[in-house]
Protein backbone atom coordinates (compact mmCIF):
# COMPACT_ATOMS: atom_id res chain seq x y z
CA UNK A 1 0.00 0.00 0.00
CA UNK A 2 1.44 3.36 -0.98
CA UNK A 3 1.76 6.32 1.31
CA UNK A 4 -0.94 8.11 -0.67
CA UNK A 5 -3.41 5.27 -0.39
CA UNK A 6 -2.66 4.87 3.30
CA UNK A 7 -3.35 8.54 3.86
CA UNK A 8 -6.50 8.30 1.79
CA UNK A 9 -7.75 5.33 3.75
CA UNK A 10 -6.95 7.02 7.06
CA UNK A 11 -8.97 10.06 6.00
CA UNK A 12 -11.84 7.80 4.96
CA UNK A 13 -11.70 6.00 8.33
CA UNK A 14 -11.74 9.30 10.19
CA UNK A 15 -14.69 10.41 8.13
CA UNK A 16 -16.58 7.21 8.89
CA UNK A 17 -15.70 7.38 12.58
CA UNK A 18 -17.16 10.84 12.85
CA UNK A 19 -20.66 9.77 12.00
CA UNK A 20 -20.30 8.70 8.39
CA UNK A 21 -21.10 10.58 5.24
CA UNK A 22 -24.18 12.22 6.73
CA UNK A 23 -22.05 14.05 9.27
CA UNK A 24 -19.17 14.79 6.94
CA UNK A 25 -18.30 18.33 5.99
CA UNK A 26 -18.88 19.57 2.44
CA UNK A 27 -15.14 19.56 1.89
CA UNK A 28 -14.84 15.94 2.98
CA UNK A 29 -17.74 14.86 0.80
CA UNK A 30 -16.28 16.67 -2.19
CA UNK A 31 -12.91 15.07 -1.59
CA UNK A 32 -14.47 11.62 -1.34
CA UNK A 33 -16.51 12.09 -4.49
CA UNK A 34 -13.44 13.21 -6.41
CA UNK A 35 -11.35 10.29 -5.16
CA UNK A 36 -14.03 7.75 -6.04
CA UNK A 37 -14.37 9.19 -9.52
CA UNK A 38 -10.64 9.11 -10.02
CA UNK A 39 -10.02 5.54 -8.82
CA UNK A 40 -12.48 2.74 -9.57
CA UNK A 41 -10.83 0.41 -7.05
CA UNK A 42 -11.18 2.96 -4.29
CA UNK A 43 -14.77 3.54 -5.37
CA UNK A 44 -15.54 -0.18 -4.92
CA UNK A 45 -13.75 -0.21 -1.59
CA UNK A 46 -15.71 2.77 -0.32
CA UNK A 47 -18.99 1.28 -1.50
CA UNK A 48 -18.28 -1.99 0.29
CA UNK A 49 -17.17 -0.23 3.46
CA UNK A 50 -20.27 1.95 3.51
CA UNK A 51 -22.53 -1.06 3.09
CA UNK A 52 -20.72 -3.00 5.81
CA UNK A 53 -20.98 0.03 8.08
CA UNK A 54 -24.68 0.37 7.37
CA UNK A 55 -25.33 -3.30 8.10
CA UNK A 56 -23.30 -3.05 11.27
CA UNK A 57 -25.20 -0.02 12.53
CA UNK A 58 -28.51 -1.66 11.67
CA UNK A 59 -27.47 -4.74 13.63
CA UNK A 60 -26.29 -2.52 16.49
CA UNK A 61 -29.61 -0.72 16.51
CA UNK A 62 -31.34 -4.04 17.10
CA UNK A 63 -28.97 -4.93 19.92
CA UNK A 64 -29.35 -2.04 22.30
CA UNK A 65 -31.77 -3.17 24.96
CA UNK A 66 -31.33 -5.83 27.56
CA UNK A 67 -34.32 -7.95 28.55
CA UNK A 68 -34.57 -6.12 31.84
CA UNK A 69 -35.41 -2.48 32.27
CA UNK A 70 -33.44 -0.32 34.71
CA UNK A 71 -35.79 -0.85 37.66
CA UNK A 72 -35.82 -4.60 37.27
CA UNK A 73 -32.06 -4.59 36.88
CA UNK A 74 -31.71 -2.41 39.96
CA UNK A 75 -33.73 -4.84 42.06
CA UNK A 76 -31.44 -7.62 40.89
CA UNK A 77 -28.35 -5.54 41.61
CA UNK A 78 -29.35 -4.78 45.19
CA UNK A 79 -30.38 -8.39 45.76
CA UNK A 80 -26.99 -9.43 44.42
CA UNK A 81 -25.20 -6.99 46.71
CA UNK A 82 -27.12 -8.25 49.74
CA UNK A 83 -26.28 -11.82 48.79
CA UNK A 84 -22.58 -10.99 48.45
CA UNK A 85 -22.61 -11.82 44.75
CA UNK A 86 -19.29 -11.31 42.92
CA UNK A 87 -17.55 -10.57 46.20
CA UNK A 88 -14.58 -12.53 44.93
CA UNK A 89 -11.85 -9.92 44.95
CA UNK A 90 -11.67 -9.57 41.17
CA UNK A 91 -11.06 -5.97 40.20
CA UNK A 92 -12.73 -5.59 36.86
CA UNK A 93 -12.36 -1.83 36.75
CA UNK A 94 -8.79 -2.26 35.57
CA UNK A 95 -7.45 -2.23 32.04
CA UNK A 96 -8.90 -5.07 29.95
CA UNK A 97 -6.21 -7.63 29.20
CA UNK A 98 -6.33 -8.74 25.61
CA UNK A 99 -3.91 -11.51 24.79
CA UNK A 100 -4.39 -10.95 21.14
CA UNK A 101 -4.33 -8.29 18.99
CA UNK A 102 -5.87 -11.45 17.62
CA UNK A 103 -6.32 -14.33 19.98
CA UNK A 104 -8.48 -15.27 22.87
CA UNK A 105 -8.88 -13.32 25.99
CA UNK A 106 -6.80 -14.33 28.92
CA UNK A 107 -7.09 -13.44 32.52
CA UNK A 108 -8.70 -10.29 33.68
CA UNK A 109 -8.04 -10.83 37.33
CA UNK A 110 -5.85 -8.14 38.76
CA UNK A 111 -5.40 -10.13 41.91
CA UNK A 112 -6.22 -13.52 43.21
CA UNK A 113 -9.85 -14.38 43.51
CA UNK A 114 -11.43 -16.13 46.44
CA UNK A 115 -10.79 -19.39 44.61
CA UNK A 116 -7.36 -18.91 43.02
CA UNK A 117 -7.28 -22.45 41.68
CA UNK A 118 -10.26 -21.77 39.48
CA UNK A 119 -8.80 -18.54 38.26
CA UNK A 120 -5.49 -20.18 37.50
CA UNK A 121 -7.15 -22.90 35.49
CA UNK A 122 -9.21 -20.49 33.47
CA UNK A 123 -6.71 -17.72 33.02
CA UNK A 124 -3.04 -18.54 32.71
CA UNK A 125 -1.98 -14.93 32.70
CA UNK A 126 -3.98 -14.25 35.81
CA UNK A 127 -2.45 -17.26 37.44
CA UNK A 128 1.01 -16.05 36.50
CA UNK A 129 0.22 -12.65 37.91
CA UNK A 130 -0.90 -14.32 41.09
CA UNK A 131 2.17 -16.49 41.39
CA UNK A 132 4.78 -13.87 40.61
CA UNK A 133 4.72 -12.16 44.00
CA UNK A 134 5.35 -15.50 45.71
CA UNK A 135 8.26 -16.25 43.43
CA UNK A 136 9.65 -12.80 43.82
CA UNK A 137 9.51 -12.92 47.62
CA UNK A 138 13.13 -12.80 48.81
CA UNK A 139 14.24 -15.81 50.76
CA UNK A 140 16.27 -15.37 53.94
CA UNK A 141 19.91 -14.74 53.04
CA UNK A 142 21.24 -17.87 54.74
CA UNK A 143 18.87 -20.09 52.83
CA UNK A 144 19.64 -18.56 49.47
CA UNK A 145 21.67 -20.67 47.06
CA UNK A 146 22.35 -23.47 49.56
CA UNK A 147 24.73 -21.33 51.56
CA UNK A 148 23.31 -22.52 54.84
CA UNK A 149 24.45 -26.10 54.21
CA UNK A 150 27.93 -24.93 53.22
CA UNK A 151 28.17 -22.88 56.38
CA UNK A 152 27.07 -25.86 58.46
CA UNK A 153 29.71 -28.11 56.87
CA UNK A 154 32.46 -25.55 57.48
CA UNK A 155 31.42 -25.14 61.12
CA UNK A 156 31.46 -28.93 61.61
CA UNK A 157 34.94 -29.13 60.13
CA UNK A 158 36.22 -26.41 62.47
CA UNK A 159 34.72 -28.17 65.50
CA UNK A 160 36.38 -31.46 64.52
CA UNK A 161 39.79 -29.84 64.08
CA UNK A 162 39.59 -28.02 67.38
CA UNK A 163 38.38 -31.13 69.21
CA UNK A 164 41.13 -33.23 67.76
CA UNK A 165 43.71 -30.60 68.63
CA UNK A 166 42.57 -30.32 72.23
CA UNK A 167 42.49 -34.08 72.55
CA UNK A 168 46.06 -34.35 71.32
CA UNK A 169 47.28 -31.69 73.72
CA UNK A 170 45.58 -33.24 76.75
CA UNK A 171 46.86 -36.79 76.14
CA UNK A 172 50.45 -36.00 75.24
CA UNK A 173 53.33 -35.14 77.54
CA UNK A 174 56.98 -34.54 76.53
CA UNK A 175 58.25 -37.36 78.75
CA UNK A 176 55.85 -40.11 78.10
CA UNK A 177 56.50 -42.83 75.64
CA UNK A 178 53.00 -42.35 74.48
CA UNK A 179 53.78 -38.80 73.71
CA UNK A 180 57.07 -39.72 72.06
CA UNK A 181 55.38 -42.34 70.03
CA UNK A 182 52.77 -39.86 69.16
CA UNK A 183 55.42 -37.59 67.69
CA UNK A 184 56.91 -40.38 65.53
CA UNK A 185 56.27 -40.02 61.85
CA UNK A 186 55.15 -43.65 61.76
CA UNK A 187 52.36 -42.85 64.16
CA UNK A 188 50.95 -39.63 62.98
CA UNK A 189 48.27 -37.76 64.83
CA UNK A 190 44.91 -38.44 63.55
CA UNK A 191 44.18 -35.44 61.41
CA UNK A 192 40.74 -34.10 61.24
CA UNK A 193 39.37 -34.25 57.75
CA UNK A 194 37.07 -31.54 56.59
CA UNK A 195 33.54 -32.72 56.68
CA UNK A 196 32.39 -33.36 53.16
CA UNK A 197 29.55 -31.18 52.04
CA UNK A 198 26.30 -33.08 52.14
CA UNK A 199 24.84 -33.98 48.80
CA UNK A 200 22.69 -31.26 47.41
CA UNK A 201 19.03 -31.93 47.41
CA UNK A 202 16.58 -30.13 45.22
CA UNK A 203 15.61 -26.95 46.87
CA UNK A 204 12.08 -26.65 47.98
CA UNK A 205 10.38 -23.35 48.47
CA UNK A 206 10.10 -22.21 52.04
CA UNK A 207 6.88 -23.12 53.76
CA UNK A 208 5.94 -19.68 54.97
Amino acid sequence: MTQASTTRRARLDALLDQGGLEQASAADRAWLTAERARDAGFDREVAALLRAEAHLREWGGQHTVAGQGPDEALAGIFAGLDAGLFDDGLELDGTPQFADGEGDVVGLAARAAASPVTVAAEAPAAAAATVVPLQAKPRPTLLRDGRFMQLLAAAAAVVLVVTAGLSAVSTSSPDSSEGAAARQPSAPHPRAQPCPAPPRRPRRPPCW
Partner: protein
Protein backbone atom coordinates in the same frame (compact mmCIF):
# COMPACT_ATOMS: atom_id res chain seq x y z
CA UNK B 1 -26.03 16.53 51.32
CA UNK B 2 -29.00 14.22 50.89
CA UNK B 3 -30.00 12.43 47.70
CA UNK B 4 -32.93 14.84 47.37
CA UNK B 5 -30.40 17.65 47.02
CA UNK B 6 -28.12 15.85 44.62
CA UNK B 7 -28.63 17.31 41.20
CA UNK B 8 -25.54 16.41 39.25
CA UNK B 9 -23.88 13.15 38.47
CA UNK B 10 -20.88 14.19 40.51
CA UNK B 11 -23.03 14.80 43.56
CA UNK B 12 -24.73 11.43 43.14
CA UNK B 13 -21.33 9.85 42.71
CA UNK B 14 -20.03 11.44 45.91
CA UNK B 15 -23.04 10.14 47.82
CA UNK B 16 -22.73 6.69 46.29
CA UNK B 17 -19.04 6.58 47.18
CA UNK B 18 -19.97 7.27 50.76
CA UNK B 19 -22.27 4.23 50.70
CA UNK B 20 -25.62 5.74 49.70
CA UNK B 21 -27.43 3.02 47.75
CA UNK B 22 -30.21 5.30 46.63
CA UNK B 23 -27.71 7.58 44.96
CA UNK B 24 -26.11 4.56 43.33
CA UNK B 25 -29.56 3.51 42.15
CA UNK B 26 -29.93 6.87 40.45
CA UNK B 27 -26.60 6.39 38.73
CA UNK B 28 -27.69 2.95 37.59
CA UNK B 29 -30.83 4.43 36.07
CA UNK B 30 -28.76 7.07 34.29
CA UNK B 31 -26.30 4.61 32.77
CA UNK B 32 -28.27 1.39 32.46
CA UNK B 33 -29.16 1.97 28.82
CA UNK B 34 -25.65 2.38 27.52
CA UNK B 35 -24.21 -0.42 29.65
CA UNK B 36 -27.01 -2.74 28.51
CA UNK B 37 -26.40 -1.84 24.87
CA UNK B 38 -22.67 -2.39 25.25
CA UNK B 39 -23.22 -5.79 26.87
CA UNK B 40 -25.76 -6.78 24.26
CA UNK B 41 -23.49 -5.81 21.38
CA UNK B 42 -20.47 -7.53 22.91
CA UNK B 43 -22.29 -10.71 23.83
CA UNK B 44 -24.55 -10.84 20.78
CA UNK B 45 -27.80 -12.66 21.35
CA UNK B 46 -26.58 -14.32 24.48
CA UNK B 47 -29.03 -14.93 27.27
CA UNK B 48 -26.27 -13.68 29.55
CA UNK B 49 -26.85 -10.01 28.73
CA UNK B 50 -29.03 -9.26 31.76
CA UNK B 51 -26.65 -11.09 34.06
CA UNK B 52 -23.69 -9.24 32.58
CA UNK B 53 -25.38 -5.88 33.12
CA UNK B 54 -26.17 -6.72 36.73
CA UNK B 55 -22.67 -8.00 37.33
CA UNK B 56 -21.21 -4.83 35.82
CA UNK B 57 -23.11 -2.62 38.23
CA UNK B 58 -22.46 -4.85 41.24
CA UNK B 59 -18.75 -4.75 40.48
CA UNK B 60 -18.98 -1.02 39.92
CA UNK B 61 -20.51 -0.58 43.37
CA UNK B 62 -17.72 -2.58 44.96
CA UNK B 63 -15.09 -0.63 43.03
CA UNK B 64 -16.62 2.81 43.63
CA UNK B 65 -14.15 3.74 46.37
CA UNK B 66 -11.35 3.34 43.82
CA UNK B 67 -12.96 5.54 41.20
CA UNK B 68 -10.90 8.73 41.22
CA UNK B 69 -12.78 10.73 38.63
CA UNK B 70 -9.92 10.99 36.17
CA UNK B 71 -12.07 9.32 33.52
CA UNK B 72 -15.73 9.94 32.90
CA UNK B 73 -18.03 7.78 34.97
CA UNK B 74 -19.57 6.43 31.77
CA UNK B 75 -16.13 5.48 30.42
CA UNK B 76 -15.30 3.73 33.68
CA UNK B 77 -18.59 1.83 33.57
CA UNK B 78 -17.92 0.84 29.96
CA UNK B 79 -14.55 -0.52 31.04
CA UNK B 80 -16.14 -2.66 33.73
CA UNK B 81 -18.80 -3.85 31.31
CA UNK B 82 -16.15 -4.77 28.70
CA UNK B 83 -14.21 -6.72 31.32
CA UNK B 84 -17.31 -8.53 32.53
CA UNK B 85 -18.35 -9.40 28.98
CA UNK B 86 -14.85 -10.53 28.01
CA UNK B 87 -14.81 -12.83 31.01
CA UNK B 88 -18.12 -14.28 29.92
CA UNK B 89 -17.05 -14.55 26.29
CA UNK B 90 -13.95 -16.49 27.20
CA UNK B 91 -14.48 -20.06 26.19
CA UNK B 92 -18.01 -19.25 25.15
CA UNK B 93 -18.00 -18.58 21.44
CA UNK B 94 -21.41 -19.87 20.65
CA UNK B 95 -23.57 -16.82 21.15
CA UNK B 96 -23.42 -14.92 17.90
CA UNK B 97 -23.72 -17.96 15.67
CA UNK B 98 -27.20 -18.39 17.10
CA UNK B 99 -28.14 -14.82 16.26
CA UNK B 100 -30.91 -15.86 13.90
CA UNK B 101 -32.68 -17.34 16.88
CA UNK B 102 -32.46 -14.15 18.90
CA UNK B 103 -35.94 -13.68 20.39
CA UNK B 104 -35.55 -9.92 20.15
CA UNK B 105 -35.24 -9.97 16.38
CA UNK B 106 -38.33 -9.78 14.21
CA UNK B 107 -39.43 -13.23 13.25
CA UNK B 108 -40.64 -14.20 9.81
CA UNK B 109 -44.39 -13.85 9.76
CA UNK B 110 -46.56 -16.31 7.91
CA UNK B 111 -49.66 -14.19 7.73
CA UNK B 112 -48.44 -11.05 6.02
CA UNK B 113 -51.88 -9.49 5.65
CA UNK B 114 -52.78 -9.60 9.33
CA UNK B 115 -49.40 -8.44 10.57
CA UNK B 116 -48.53 -5.89 7.95
CA UNK B 117 -44.97 -7.24 7.89
CA UNK B 118 -43.44 -8.56 4.70
CA UNK B 119 -42.34 -12.10 5.65
CA UNK B 120 -39.66 -12.16 2.97
CA UNK B 121 -38.24 -8.89 4.21
CA UNK B 122 -38.34 -10.15 7.81
CA UNK B 123 -36.53 -13.32 6.83
CA UNK B 124 -33.88 -11.40 4.91
CA UNK B 125 -33.42 -9.11 7.89
CA UNK B 126 -33.02 -12.02 10.28
CA UNK B 127 -30.46 -13.60 7.95
CA UNK B 128 -28.62 -10.31 7.61
CA UNK B 129 -28.42 -9.86 11.37
CA UNK B 130 -27.24 -13.43 11.70
CA UNK B 131 -24.44 -12.77 9.21
CA UNK B 132 -23.40 -9.52 10.86
CA UNK B 133 -23.47 -11.11 14.31
CA UNK B 134 -21.37 -14.02 13.09
CA UNK B 135 -18.90 -11.63 11.44
CA UNK B 136 -18.56 -9.65 14.66
CA UNK B 137 -18.12 -12.85 16.58
CA UNK B 138 -15.28 -13.82 14.26
CA UNK B 139 -13.34 -10.72 15.26
CA UNK B 140 -10.86 -10.95 18.08
CA UNK B 141 -12.11 -9.57 21.39
CA UNK B 142 -9.94 -6.48 21.11
CA UNK B 143 -11.27 -5.59 17.66
CA UNK B 144 -14.84 -6.36 18.61
CA UNK B 145 -14.61 -4.21 21.75
CA UNK B 146 -13.27 -1.30 19.71
CA UNK B 147 -16.05 -1.70 17.14
CA UNK B 148 -18.73 -1.75 19.82
CA UNK B 149 -17.40 1.28 21.68
CA UNK B 150 -16.54 3.47 18.70
CA UNK B 151 -18.85 2.48 15.86
CA UNK B 152 -21.91 1.39 17.82
CA UNK B 153 -21.69 3.35 21.05
CA UNK B 154 -20.28 6.44 19.35
CA UNK B 155 -17.34 6.96 21.67
CA UNK B 156 -14.36 9.03 20.58
CA UNK B 157 -11.06 7.25 20.07
CA UNK B 158 -9.78 8.94 23.21
CA UNK B 159 -12.66 7.76 25.40
CA UNK B 160 -12.54 4.30 23.89
CA UNK B 161 -8.80 4.27 24.58
CA UNK B 162 -9.50 5.21 28.20
CA UNK B 163 -12.05 2.42 28.50
CA UNK B 164 -9.84 -0.18 26.83
CA UNK B 165 -6.61 1.02 28.41
CA UNK B 166 -4.81 1.75 25.17
CA UNK B 167 -3.69 4.70 23.08
CA UNK B 168 -5.94 6.52 20.64
CA UNK B 169 -3.74 5.29 17.82
CA UNK B 170 -4.31 1.71 18.90
CA UNK B 171 -8.05 2.26 18.83
CA UNK B 172 -7.77 3.78 15.35
CA UNK B 173 -5.77 0.78 14.13
CA UNK B 174 -8.24 -1.66 15.62
CA UNK B 175 -11.16 0.10 13.96
CA UNK B 176 -9.35 0.20 10.64
CA UNK B 177 -8.50 -3.48 10.86
CA UNK B 178 -12.00 -4.42 12.01
CA UNK B 179 -13.55 -2.59 9.06
CA UNK B 180 -11.30 -4.42 6.64
CA UNK B 181 -12.12 -7.80 8.14
CA UNK B 182 -15.83 -7.12 8.39
CA UNK B 183 -15.84 -6.19 4.72
CA UNK B 184 -14.13 -9.48 3.91
CA UNK B 185 -16.38 -11.48 6.23
CA UNK B 186 -19.56 -9.95 4.88
CA UNK B 187 -18.27 -10.46 1.33
CA UNK B 188 -21.28 -10.96 -0.87
CA UNK B 189 -23.42 -8.68 1.29
CA UNK B 190 -21.27 -5.66 0.60
CA UNK B 191 -19.22 -6.19 -2.55
CA UNK B 192 -20.70 -4.31 -5.50
CA UNK B 193 -20.03 -7.12 -8.00
CA UNK B 194 -21.71 -9.73 -5.84
CA UNK B 195 -24.63 -7.44 -5.18
CA UNK B 196 -25.04 -6.77 -8.90
CA UNK B 197 -24.90 -10.49 -9.67
CA UNK B 198 -27.22 -11.54 -6.86
CA UNK B 199 -29.64 -8.66 -6.93
CA UNK B 200 -28.51 -7.18 -3.63
CA UNK B 201 -28.92 -8.10 0.00
Amino acid sequence: MDIADARTEMELLALAQSGDRRAFGQLVRLHHGRVAACAHQLLGASAEVDDAVQESFIRAWRALPRFDGRAKLSTWLYRICVNVCLNRMRGNRRHAAADVDDPKLPEPVADAESSGVDPLRALEQAQLYGRVGAALDALSPSLRSAVVLVLLQGMSHKDAGDALGCAEGTVAWRIHEARRRLRDLLGDLVEPEALAAGGGA
